[in-house]
């Protein structure tokens, strides 16, 4: 008993050091949480993620842009201690969006993304290392991440901490003299809590900091009606808080609710609300329906047609005031199943999204821009 009390205190003290540097803060928080929780002991074990494989065809079509491609993922556990995963994702983009069409000419491009992950389980903790590399002709993005999750309180509460560091190389077609970099730091913390035998909730917080070239070398801004290259700040710091609740409704169905609030140093504030419903039909069918509403306010330096000279100016519609409504449906069919051995499912999902901009005009018509998009996903998933 004494030993437990002693073990708890130093760990807490370690975590209590108030650090100004965000990284040191994260590490000490990590030490405190893990130290305190390891002291609590318990022989419970968290499961390694199940072995599985997924093969997907994805397609996005909207606003003059189409992006299709395959994606593959394999996950396998080794010696019951480590679970390794690897995935490959391709985006074949054909871009004739309003920006491209009004300021340049349509183009085609291919992006490849590789990710690797390793999950390690020890008692009630799970540690995940991740590496990801995305390459397209004018942009390379590399990420590495570390996530730790810890089950506590009889397995009713799971606390997780995560960290990602990214470093990008920005280039420009036909302009080898243009070369810049962007670096990203992401810190996340989350808590998942079992509320009742039928309800589970989670709260997540993520802070992202970007540094470097954060715009696009092709994008044009408008100042006094004239086209000028956009000027973005070289730093951006954002925060997002996400709350989710899942509830079992008793007749082999479940409801999902989600709300996220986002805010950043570019003065963008965004709300996301999502409602979902899942239901089993018979032994083999699972269907999901979802409704998502997203709304954001524009960045400080965003303007459709700036009437003053400012240090930063952008006409990037991703930073404008707009909202979007998405309606989605998914179906999964259990093709082969041997309980305890393997299971193969065929899945298909489609989401229809309507984007409506308030302060971005379609210069071809002079009215606020809006477009519809369709997102299709067809995939085979197997657990073994």
């Amino acid at each position: 008993m004494c030993a437990k009390a002693h073990a708890a205190r130093p760990a807490y003290k370690g975590a209590a050091v108030v650090a100004t540097d965000l990284l040191r803060r994260l590490l000490t928080l990590l030490g405190g949480v893990l130290g305190g929780l390891f002291a609590a002991g318990g022989a419970r074990a968290v499961d390694l993620p199940a072995d599985n494989a997924e093969a997907m065809f994805h397609s996005y079509n909207g606003g003059g842009v189409t992006a299709n491609g395959p994606a593959l993922l394999v996950r396998k556990s080794i010696a019951d201690r480590v679970s390794l995963s690897a995935s490959y994702y391709v985006d074949s983009v054909s871009n004739a969006s309003i920006d491209v069409v009004t300021t340049a000419s349509p183009y085609k491009e291919r992006r490849n993304e590789y990710t690797f992950g390793a999950d390690y389980v020890y008692r009630d903790s799970q540690i995940t290392f991740g590496l990801s590399s995305s390459k397209e002709p004018d942009y390379t993005a590399n990420r590495y991440s570390l996530d730790i999750s810890q089950e506590t309180f009889g397995g009713m509460t799971t606390v997780s901490l995560g960290f990602t560091r990214g470093s990008d190389q920005v280039g420009k077609h036909d302009a080898p003299e243009f070369a810049d970099i962007a670096t990203h730091w992401q810190y996340r913390v989350g808590v998942t809590q079992i509320l009742t035998p039928r309800w589970i909730a989670s709260a997540n917080f993520e802070a992202i900091s970007d540094d470097g070239y954060l715009g696009s070398p092709y994008r044009i801004a408008r100042v006094f009606g004239a086209a000028v290259p956009e000027r973005n700040p070289r730093t951006r710091s954002s925060r997002a808080m996400n709350f989710r609740v899942n509830g079992d409704l008793g007749s082999r169905d479940a409801v999902h609710l989600q709300y996220r609030y986002f805010w950043d140093t570019w003065a963008i504030k965004a709300h996301t609300v999502e409602l979902g419903y899942s239901r089993y039909f018979g032994d083999k069918w699972l269907t999901d329906a979802s409704l998502r509403y997203y709304r954001q306010g524009h960045a400080l330096f965003y303007s459709d047609n700036a009437q003053t000279e400012t240090t930063y100016v952008s006409r990037n519609r991703q930073l404008s005031t707009f909202d979007s409504v998405g309606l989605g449906a998914k179906v999964a069919y259990t093709w082969r199943k041997v309980p305890g051995r393997y299971e193969v499912k065929l899945n298909g999902g489609y989401e229809y999204v309507r984007y409506k901009y308030s302060d971005f005009t379609d210069i071809r018509t002079g009215t606020p821009y809006g477009f519809n998009a369709g997102v299709l996903q067809l995939y085979v998933s197997a657990t073994f």
């Binding site: 205190r9 807490y12 209590a16 609590a40 499961d47 019951d80």
Partner: protein
């Protein structure tokens, strides 16, 4: 800002001590510990008549609590099967208590896993509560006098060797 945090922390230290002591106290003594008598129960069996723990006196009993939705439970089934077939004739009995709500599905899964030992239904979770299960799966080893000797929480690769060693020891 710094000051208020430090103030909060020194008050917080008292909470931490409470938490740490509470940890010790809060982890209440489980009902089922080595050297206590294993609580008696009677449950419906998947195949055959109801089974009562008390009737197994004189034999070494392994009570294994499992569910179809618990991965490690399914993983340890083949090992338990092996143990049952090896020592069943020497006075060893394995009672596997299933806590699923849907017994039909559980029977299906048990059959597919090739289970040969008795499977008992605890759908209303009475026995699980009686034994105050802290994890899934949980394995309790009871000796010939009905006393609890070993309690295993969870299942990790290699546990089956410990089970075998302990069963052999109790069978002597």
């Amino acid at each position: 800002m710094n000051m208020s945090l430090h103030h909060r922390l020194s008050r917080g230290t008292r909470w931490v001590l409470c938490a740490a002591l509470g940890l010790a106290a809060g982890s209440a003594l489980p009902v089922v510990t080595p050297t206590t008598l294993a609580p008696d129960f009677t449950l419906r069996a998947m195949a055959g008549p109801n089974m009562r723990l008390q009737e197994q006196r004189g034999r070494v009993v392994m009570i294994n609590f499992w569910a179809t939705w618990c991965g490690p439970c399914r993983q340890e089934m083949p090992h338990l099967n092996r143990l049952y077939q090896k020592y069943g004739a020497s006075g060893f009995v394995l009672l596997s208590v299933n806590v699923d709500d849907d017994t039909r599905n559980a029977a299906d899964v048990a059959a597919k896993l090739g289970v040969t030992f008795p499977v008992l239904w605890d759908t209303d979770k009475k026995v699980s509560r009686l034994y105050d299960l802290a994890t899934m799966p949980s394995t309790v080893l009871v000796d010939r006098d009905g006393k609890v000797r070993y309690v295993h929480r969870g299942y990790l690769n290699g546990y089956e060797d410990t089970y075998e060693k302990q069963v052999r020891e109790l069978l002597k």
